[in-house]
Every structure is written in C-alpha cells, then in structure tokens.
Symmetry: C2
Subunit: 114 residues, 2 copies
DNA sequence: TTTTTATACATCGAACTTCTATGTATATTT
DNA sequence: AAATATACATAGAAGTTCGATGTATAAAAA
C-alpha cells in the first residue's frame, strides 16, 4: 500500500489540516512534515499543493494567519483555526461518518463511527 | 446532515460505481437512481456528472459498455466491471481503509477496518 | 389527443483542484 | 564556499464536478 489517490487526498486535506491546527498553531512547511509523519508517508503534500489549500481556507475564514519570526531568525506564516473553522471541522467529521456508513453498507460490513 | 461535499463525492464515486457493477450490470440512468436510493439522497449525481465518470472508467478499462434494447423498446448502454476494474476496486477498498485509519488516529479514536 | 413527465444518452463551459516546475530568500551544515 | 534544509509563493497543465443545454423516445396525464 503506497501513496493514496488524489481524490482521497483531496477529500481528507481540509479536515486533516483543520485537525492539526486545532491542536497547535502551525505554519505551512511544518504542516507538510507533520502530515507526512502522522500518515507514515502515505500522504505527502508538495509545497505547491499545500500553500494554495491554506490560502483557500484563509479566504473562506476557516483559518487565520500571522507572520512571526522564529528563534532561528526565520520568518514564518503561522496559521490558527477560527471559530468558523471549528464549526466546519465538526461538519466535515459528520460528513466523513456519513460517507463511511454509506460505503460500509455498500460493502456489506459493519459501519464504523469515527 | 444534507448532501455531501464535492470532495467526498469525488473520492467515493469510483468505488461506489464499481461496487454497484460488481453485483449487476447496469446503465447510467439506473446507476444514478440506485446511488440516490442507497445513500438516502445524500449522494445525487447529475447526468452531466455521472456520464463523464463512466466514460473515464471505460477509457481506463475498468468497465465495459454494450448497447442493449430493453423490453420497453428503449436503448440503454449497459456497463459491466472488468477484471481490471475488480483489481482497482480492491485497491480502492484498501485505500479507504488506510485513510480511515489515518483520520481515526488524528481524531484520537479507535481505528475501524471496513 | 395533445401535453407533460420520466427515461436515457451526450457534451459544453465555468469553477475549482492537484501536481510539477519554477522562483525567491535565508539559515544551517558540510 | 558550496550544498542542503527551511520557508513562502505562483504559474501552467491536467483533471474534476456541476449546472445548462441538446436530442430522442416511452409512458402518463390533461
């Protein structure tokens, strides 16, 4: 089992990013490493993929950014989740449960709530 | 809980269609009704959405089509799954399990195999 | 009988997505 | 001094969903 399909990546990227930002503020480059780590390399975002997603989420008001200077002296754009984003994450979780119930039924196995 | 997001639809459309065709041959219009029924209206494909997906799957060799005339006298394009399609469905199921384990972990609940 | 609805296929263009490539810049390591 | 890692950003290619539109025929309703 290798890398996941583009479609599955697309469906999971928003809830995964919002979940990460629920735990801590973070910035693009770190989020990429983080996702790679927690998925055991099964999801690897390129920078050209993740940054536009972050911009989209910010534009929709689900996350907010602010430039900060790290101890290293490097500038980083930190993102935090907004209240809107928390609501959206809740909806996304419900949607994920729904689709799981649907495909569980189609594949005739027990549905699994997440 | 209403209709599912475009992304989730996109991620699930291929496995759902292949699963339907694993049970019986079917044709576009019927597949649309079928999906609407088994998902309780949560997934509703428009014709302009489903037909291109079927064409794509056929082009990739996952399904095969043949025109037939129904008892009603109506012409229908029936699709059946190919061996390639069966292999693909297996992979898609594995991928679905993988992503479920990943997001289960992220959301800190027990992982659930489908 | 004429009109409407349901069935059945197809394509187009708008909007959006992912991905690879490219560009810029700075800190750290070799 | 050079190479690598960190950090952000955008552009263009390819692919997707979706509503709109078009064609055609069978069944149902007016």
């Amino acid at each position: 089992m290798e890398k996941l399909s583009k479609e599955l990546i697309g469906a999971s990227s928003t809830p995964i990013i919002l979940s990460i930002l629920t735990k801590n503020e973070s910035y693009g480059y770190e989020i990429i490493q983080n996702i790679k780590e927690i998925t055991g390399g099964k999801i690897e975002f390129g920078e050209g993929t993740l940054y536009p997603v972050l911009h989209k989420l910010e534009k929709k008001g689900l996350i907010q950014s602010s430039w900060k200077v790290a101890e290293s002296g490097r500038k980083r754009k930190y993102y935090k989740i907004s209240n809107e984003g928390k609501k959206e994450l809740k909806i996304e979780k419900e949607n994920w449960n729904t689709i799981n119930q649907i495909i569980s039924k189609i594949w005739k196995v027990e549905p699994n709530l997440i």
